[in-house]
């Protein structure tokens, strides 16, 4: 793709996107909603959430590593089976 086409594309992109950045829609909230404004019945204890979040990060990592390990074992098994068949040809 030529440089000229790239420049045209970039320029049009900037020109078209400019109104999007210039004309902001009505401002919503820009701060956190303080937690004491949420009805008491809705509030959850915080510490378990934090612990679950941390535990989930560990769990996700370990599950993924285990999945890689499982697939690797399968590949190695297939390779061994194939290598056994090869010398007989």
């Amino acid at each position: 793709m030529s440089l000229r086409r790239l420049l045209i594309a970039l320029t049009s992109f900037v020109l078209l996107a400019a109104p999007a950045f210039a004309l902001q829609p009505p401002k919503g909230q820009s701060e956190f909603v303080p937690v004491n404004e949420v009805p008491a019945a809705d509030q959850l204890p915080a510490a378990p959430l934090l612990i679950v979040a941390y535990a989930f990060v560990w769990a996700a990592t370990l599950v993924y590593v285990w999945s890689i390990w499982r697939r690797m074992n399968k590949v190695e098994d297939d390779m061994r089976a194939l290598a056994q068949k090869m010398p007989h040809r």
């Binding site: 049009s12 992109f13 078209l16 996107a17 400019a18 109104p19 999007a20 004309l23």
Partner: protein, 225 residues
């Protein structure tokens, strides 16, 4: 050469379509059924929920567009003309543009039918600012078709292509749908919110530029197999 090829591809597709009108009529009918199903889904106390109009319009466009995309390239695969097209001594990107223009024409016709239908069923004041609405629809349709044509073309030889097309397409074009719906909704208020709609048209335009360029750029390597 480039635009001649694109024009020839478009004419070829139009000529084939004109024999039976199969894709056009079934797409139109599907679009209408979509809108009807949604109106039944969103009816409350005998009247349709008003704010749903913008969303329903764009969902109908997205769904009928997805079906039409699959069917247009199915023809090429069925007739085994895809290889002939790729072997032609013409820039590959021109094939893409020809197909894109065909899809745009098809969806444009569908929208001609859908917009009045939605306006009627939902008492939506879609025609308050017709030019802005046309700009929104054009921007959104171009964005949808640009990515859709590319993905449909590249999936034509893949397994499970029917279900893979929506799976691959929808996450990429949903930002286009969001901008379209938000822009249309801005136009549907008691007093149409023009600055917001214009902003969303700008966002759609930016999207279109990015994705048409990206699609033109990647069409060649994707179809080289």
């Amino acid at each position: 050469m480039f635009f001649r090829t694109a024009w020839l591809v478009l004419k070829k597709d139009a000529a084939i379509e004109a024999k039976s009108w199969e894709v056009l009529t079934t797409t139109l009918f599907f679009a209408v059924s979509c809108v009807l199903i949604f109106s039944f889904a969103f009816v409350k106390e005998g009247r349709a929920v008003e704010d749903a109009a913008a969303g329903i319009l764009w969902i109908a466009i997205a769904f009928s567009g997805t079906l039409a995309l699959g069917r247009t390239f199915e023809r090429e695969r069925y007739g085994e003309t895809l290889r002939a097209l790729l072997l032609a001594p013409a820039p590959r990107a021109a094939l893409y543009v020809g197909k894109l223009l065909g899809m745009l024409a098809l969806l444009g016709l569908a929208e001609l039918l859908l917009v009045p239908l939605v306006a009627l069923l939902f008492q939506a004041t879609l025609f308050a600012r017709p030019l802005l609405l046309i700009a929104l629809l054009a921007g959104g349709t171009i964005g949808f078709c640009a990515v859709g044509t590319l993905f449909a073309a590249m999936l034509v030889r893949a397994r499970s292509r029917d279900v893979l097309l929506p799976i691959l397409l929808y996450p990429i074009i949903i930002p286009v749908i969001i901008a379209g719906v938000r822009g249309t909704a801005a136009l549907l208020g008691a007093t149409p919110d023009e600055p917001t709609a214009i902003m969303w048209i700008g966002v759609l335009g930016a999207f279109d530029v990015v994705f048409v360029t990206l699609s033109l750029w990647t069409f060649e390597p994707l179809m080289t197999e």
